[in-house]
């Protein structure tokens, strides 16, 4: 069942089109990764989904409610974790969460319970009485998340939630995202860190110049782009004859020498079907194989191939 649907969504500023006829869906229970270089229309897309911007054309629905016609219903179902640390430095952690919880309409015991729950969830319950000015960057990021989840939203939008924090806090946040997903929330996650998206997202959409150029699971994207794998052979001994024979194999696209002939890098379409053949060739030509490794296509290379640009170089 789809929780979020984008239908022919367009956002224009004067003559420039920032988001260009965007149509895709996000299913309930997914962790959906939204990737794109700066200026791709990622933030605009998220802003339209969370009601901060109105689409110039098209519509977005969340749980069946239109952002154009029923924006309050949509906002009730969303928890937005903005890229900025949208917290008040002169309110304690508990006061920050309580303030936003009250504006979500929570009150009484439910309010107190949910605030405690959110602080507990992000690991800040023991620091609930402290001001964010005494927190590390990672703790502030966690408080930023707590302010968006205390009302148990069905959809959580996280816009670059791990920018500028230490690895420990990043792991804590990634684990929190998984846990929120396990508890039933659908998550939209944007990041410049491919490995994060790679690690936690069940589906990925890649935006470039306002258009969705690819969308699907990592495997689907790989298939869409025809991405290749690499087999790295660390060897000892003469390899000329083996190299020639490998090049002639129909499953091999390219063989390159590396490290003064101590390493052969073999590019193949699909490694599992020809690995046995390649091992046989090395054995036949008396090559001692010290180490064999396989490099799968990652999101970075997928992104590079699709957009012609590296995500972090933007």
């Amino acid at each position: 069942m789809n929780l979020v649907s984008f239908h022919e969504v367009v956002k224009k500023y004067d003559t420039s089109i920032i988001v260009n006829h965007l149509t895709f869906y996000i299913g309930e229970g997914e962790i959906f990764g939204l990737l794109g270089p700066n200026g791709a229309g990622k933030s605009t897309t998220i802003s339209m989904l969370s009601g901060l911007l109105s689409p110039s054309a098209g519509d977005i629905t969340v749980d069946g409610f239109s952002i154009r016609k029923q924006p309050l219903e949509v906002k009730r179902r969303i928890g937005l974790v903005p890229q900025e640390l949208a917290i008040y430095e002169t309110l304690t952690a508990r006061e920050n969460v309580t303030f936003f919880a009250k504006l979500y309409g929570l009150r009484g015991k439910l309010l107190r319970d949910r605030v405690e729950e959110a602080l507990q969830f992000v690991g800040l319950l023991e620091r609930a009485k402290d001001m964010p000015s005494t927190f590390s960057g990672g703790m502030k990021r966690r408080l930023n998340i707590a302010c968006a989840i205390m009302h148990r939203p069905r959809l959580i939008i996280m816009d670059e939630p791990t920018v500028g924090i230490d690895p420990q806090s990043r792991n804590h946040i990634l684990e929190s995202v998984r846990e929120l997903n396990r508890l039933g929330s659908t998550v939209i996650y944007t990041s410049h860190y491919m490995e994060e998206v790679d690690a936690i997202c069940s589906r990925i959409g890649i935006l470039d110049q306002g258009k969705l150029i690819a969308c699907g699971t990592k495997e689907e994207l790989k298939r869409q782009t025809g991405q290749e794998e690499k087999l790295i052979f660390d060897i000892d001994g003469r390899y000329d004859a083996a190299l020639l024979e490998m090049k002639e194999h129909p499953g091999v696209k390219l063989v390159e020498e590396r490290d003064n002939g101590h390493c052969l890098e073999v590019t193949v379409k699909e490694s599992s079907s020809i690995l046995q053949d390649l091992l046989f060739i090395t054995q036949k030509h008396g090559i001692t194989l010290r180490k064999l490794s396989r490099i799968e296509p990652n999101l970075e290379s997928l992104f590079l191939q699709m957009t012609g640009r590296s995500l972090r170089d933007e």
């Binding site: 969370s50 900025e84 949208a86």
Partner: protein, 389 residues
């Protein structure tokens, strides 16, 4: 509405933790008022005396002549009352500095040779009580002398003496009330220097207080909290209004502290009409907030907005005579184009116990300025609060 009050509460909570803001908005004006007020304070202003003459006897015309005589005007300003209780109330509420009730049988008892007295009510300011006491004692002393002379000369002289009493009684030249000031003291008009600067700095700092709303909005826009508020299911308008009201309530607190401190600490007489004073403060804060929001809508950064607004408030304060009394006489009508002028004139009129009708004229103009600026600010507000176009 609930969202608005929640926002107001948390705004005030945030302000209460910003020590620098509290020091600048509340501590600084008190210090400036004390320094400037003390430097210029060298004269005693007339005491406002609430008066009810119940006596309709033969001495009545003489009493009326005494109270309306111009020679006591520098020391006493009369506030007519309709009963003894109203006299008492006017003094209790601080509207009058001193009260006098002349009972109905005063003439009769006096002429019968019995003991006859006026009932007086002292107010909160010692110097004003002394001035009023001195004038009244002088009258009573003269009256006693006349009665003694009358008893000596015989009842035939009664009518003539009674007639002459008006002129004798009002010879108050013997009363010395220390007006040690030079001509420059007249610059403060009907108020003393402490009152003058208290009003001027209250208004100036209320305008600065109004800037707090624009600063809070710009800060929250920059930090992303405003964007977060926009993404909530509560009314964004109510949240923004709550932020503005929070700043306005800080200004109200500022006004309360300044008026209380100057009244009890420095002995400033605010004239007692606190409802009107509250209105003036409210309108000034509204005008200041609106002006700051308008500037913020054109300025690209918070720093630019603050600089422009502060320059504007200083210029307005200067032109209205808040930094140099009497500047209005040199620059003509320019001061009338400032918010400060109308607020200051209103406050000073209340302080000096002017006729209520005339104060409304100034308050009306102030209200018009606040209304026009507020309408323009509402039109420009989206430029301040919206993250995107």
């Amino acid at each position: 509405m609930r969202a608005c009050w929640i926002t107001v509460y948390y705004e005030l909570l945030k302000y209460s933790r910003m020590r620098s803001v509290l020091i600048i908005l509340i501590g600084l004006p008190l210090l400036l008022i004390l320094l400037l007020g003390s430097a210029f304070d060298r004269e005693i202003k007339p005491a406002k005396v609430a008066l009810f003459v119940d006596d309709q006897g033969e001495m009545r015309s003489g009493i009326d002549t005494f109270w309306s005589d111009e020679s006591i005007a520098p020391y006493i300003k009369q506030l007519p009352a309709a009963s003894e209780k109203e006299v008492q109330d006017l003094v209790t509420e601080g509207i009058a500095d001193y009260g006098v009730y002349i009972p109905s049988g005063f003439s009769k008892r006096l002429l019968a040779g019995e003991e006859a007295t006026w009932k007086t009510f002292s107010g909160r300011y010692g110097e004003k009580n002394m001035a009023a006491d001195a004038v009244i004692n002088s009258y009573m002393t003269n009256l006693n002398l006349q009665l003694a002379a009358m008893a000596t000369l015989g009842p035939d002289q009664m009518a003539g003496r009674s007639q002459a009493s008006g002129s004798v009684e009002t010879k108050t030249s013997g009363i010395v009330i220390g007006n040690l000031g030079t001509e420059e003291n007249q610059l403060f008009g009907p108020t003393n220097s402490m009152q003058y600067y208290s009003a001027a700095y209250l208004i100036m700092f209320l305008l600065f207080g109004g800037m707090s709303a624009a600063i809070a909005l710009l800060d929250q826009k920059e930090s992303g909290t405003l964007q977060r508020l926009y993404g909530l299911p509560s009314s964004f308008g109510a949240n923004v209004f709550g932020i503005i009201v929070g700043a306005a309530m800080l200004a109200a607190l500022q006004a309360l502290v300044i008026i209380s401190f100057t009244t009890f600490g420095y002995g400033v007489d605010w004239g007692g009409h606190f409802f009107w004073i509250a209105w003036i403060c409210l309108l000034t804060t509204a005008a200041g907030s609106a002006l700051a929001i308008i500037i913020a809508s054109f300025a690209k950064t918070r720093k630019t907005m603050q600089t422009l607004f502060m320059i504007l408030v200083f210029v307005m304060t200067f032109l209205s005579g808040g930094m140099m009394a009497g500047i209005e006489n040199m620059i003509g009508n320019a001061s009338k184009w400032t918010i400060n002028h109308w607020a200051n004139v209103s406050l000073r009129a209340i302080m000096s116990g002017s006729d209520t009708g005339s104060v409304w004229h100034e308050i009306g103009i102030l209200a018009m300025i606040a209304l026009i600026l507020s309408l323009f600010a509402v039109l420009r507000l989206s430029k301040v609060v919206k993250q995107y176009g």
